[in-house]
């Protein structure tokens, strides 16, 4: 019996020692892994979530999207001009006062600053093709100045027009017939003081403009977490593409598609003949 105690004791010590060493090793290894994971988390954060998304989109989709918008939209309008042609109304008849001086000044402040925003924004996106360096930097600075001017005038624009821009049921009908722009027939189109197209443009310019202003601030100052900047640039660019598209639509409609309609924003008068067709529900 005594002979068995000593080897048994030694075996017991060895086993417990091994078990102890193994458990110590495990905790240390876990500690190491945990510390490297912690370093990684501090190092790169969750780059895969938004950083990679932004990198992929900026590399492929975004510049192409803008190129598509500024080429395809004008081509569509060119085809429309050839196939269907502009609308023309009698501008010698009775004139109706639609826009007062205040509204017109606000509109032109917004229009001028927005045009600059579109031009300088595209300058930044396609900076490798036009004016690298100082010219691109100049574009970025102009983008900021016009953003401030536009933000202020967009607030006034919102207050002045929001009542007339509320959606109405006949807007659906307008959208179904695409505002009558796809046919040569002159038929009264269902629209109030503003048609559904103008309403869409208004809401995109004001509410969308507010979103652009907020995301733009995050991009300009980098005040918060990097992921917020990454989300901001994606919102800013996708919404920007939509706004450029509708900006081009507005430009075409107001200057070319309806002859003489630009005059109403200069002197404030619209021809009654035009209102009866294009804004048939507008109570004069």
């Amino acid at each position: 019996m005594k002979k068995a105690i000593l080897p048994g004791f030694i075996l017991f010590l060895t086993l417990t020692g091994l078990a102890f060493a193994q458990s110590q090793g495990q905790t240390n290894a876990e500690l190491m892994t945990a510390s490297y994971q912690q370093i990684n988390a501090l190092f790169t954060g969750d780059w895969q979530q938004y950083g990679q998304l932004f990198t992929d989109l900026q590399q492929t989709l975004l510049p192409r999207l803008f190129l598509l918008v500024i080429t395809v939209v004008p081509v569509i309008f060119f085809l429309h001009y050839i196939a269907i042609g502009p609308m023309s109304f009698d501008h010698d008849g009775r004139q109706i006062y639609c826009y007062n001086t205040f509204v017109r000044i606000i509109h032109w402040c917004a229009a001028l600053s927005f045009s600059l925003l579109v031009i300088t924004g595209l300058m930044v996106i396609f900076a490798s093709f036009i004016g690298k360096g100082s010219l691109g930097l100049f574009g970025r600075n102009i983008h900021l100045v016009s953003a401030v001017i536009f933000s202020v005038s967009a607030v006034f624009m919102f207050l002045v027009w929001v009542k007339d821009m509320l959606p109405a049921f006949y807007d659906l009908k307008w959208m179904i017939i695409m505002g009558g722009y796809l046919s040569k027939k002159v038929k009264p189109v269902p629209a109030g003081k503003f048609n559904a197209g103008q309403k869409m443009w208004f809401w995109l310019a004001t509410l969308g403009g507010a979103v652009m202003a907020v995301t733009g601030y995050y991009l300009y100052c980098f005040p918060a977490d990097i992921n917020i900047a990454r989300i901001s640039i994606l919102i800013h660019n996708f919404l920007g593409a939509a706004m450029v598209a509708l900006f081009l639509v507005h430009l075409y409609m107001s200057t070319i598609a309806i002859k003489g309609s630009l005059r109403s924003m200069i002197n404030g008068y619209k021809a009654e003949a035009e209102l009866k067709i294009l804004h048939s529900r507008f109570k004069i």
């Binding site: 110590q24 090793g25 240390n28 290894a29 500690l31 190491m32 510390s35 490297y36 912690q38 370093i39 501090l42 190092f43 790169t44 954060g45 780059w47 950083g51 990679q52 932004f54 990198t55 900026q58 590399q59 510049p63 930044v124 996106i125 396609f126 900076a127 490798s128 690298k132 360096g133 691109g136 930097l137 574009g139 970025r140 600075n141 900021l144 100045v145 991009l219 300009y220 980098f222 990097i226 900047a229 990454r230 640039i233």
Partner: protein, 195 residues
């Protein structure tokens, strides 16, 4: 031609921030910009680790992919450099970088960002080598002089290694072999094992 790389040995880094100071002083970095910084985890606790971070000079770098003016480029030896004359300060590279390497000094107009500034591996920039312009815009060109970058050159514990990736890997492998790494390192159980 080799492939230039940084490697920070977290077993050796003692968070002295000497690399940050050497880089900032030697390259005349503008105020508010750090090309290199030291991150510490578990400060004051057993198992504290520090690592020195700057531009990682990635292969397939995200900053090169997103730059709208294509001012960032990669040399044959893997060093990622940028041209401050064409940079418009849009910040895309900063948003694409996983390591926060691109930094922006405050510019002249309305606090707008100036041209991007980041670690050049002490290899200057696209300006003429050893010219005054290169020194002013990008800092020293120690690679052209045949020296390692300032940060790695001054590192007191030699935790920050810089140079050809094969050489760096050899140094690191030899070190790990001699001392053991992590939990197998000499003195680890004395220092960190809880009683």
């Amino acid at each position: 031609m080799g492939r230039m790389k940084f490697l920070c040995d977290v077993e050796r880094c003692i968070d002295c921030s000497g690399c940050v100071v050497a880089c900032k002083e030697g390259n005349h970095i503008p105020v508010g910009v750090n090309r290199r910084r030291v991150i510490t985890i578990g400060s004051g606790q057993p198992g504290e680790k520090s690592i020195s971070v700057s531009c990682m000079h990635c292969s397939d770098a995200p900053c090169i992919a997103v730059c709208p003016v294509d001012c960032i480029y990669q040399r044959e030896d893997g060093i990622v450099l940028h041209n401050k004359d064409t940079c418009i300060g849009c910040g895309y590279c900063f948003m694409a970088c996983p390591f926060g390497a691109p930094q922006f000094p405050t510019g002249q107009v309305f606090g707008a960002r100036g041209a991007m500034d980041k670690c050049t591996f002490c290899a200057g920039g696209p300006a003429e080598t050893f010219s005054a312009k290169e020194m002013k815009l990008y800092g020293q060109n120690r690679i052209a002089e045949g020296k390692v970058p300032l940060c790695a050159g001054m590192c007191a514990t030699k935790s920050l290694l810089a140079g050809d990736s094969d050489e760096v890997a050899d140094v690191y492998r030899e070190r790990n072999f001699k001392r053991g790494s992590g939990a197998n390192a000499w003195g680890w159980s004395k220092a960190y094992t809880k009683k």
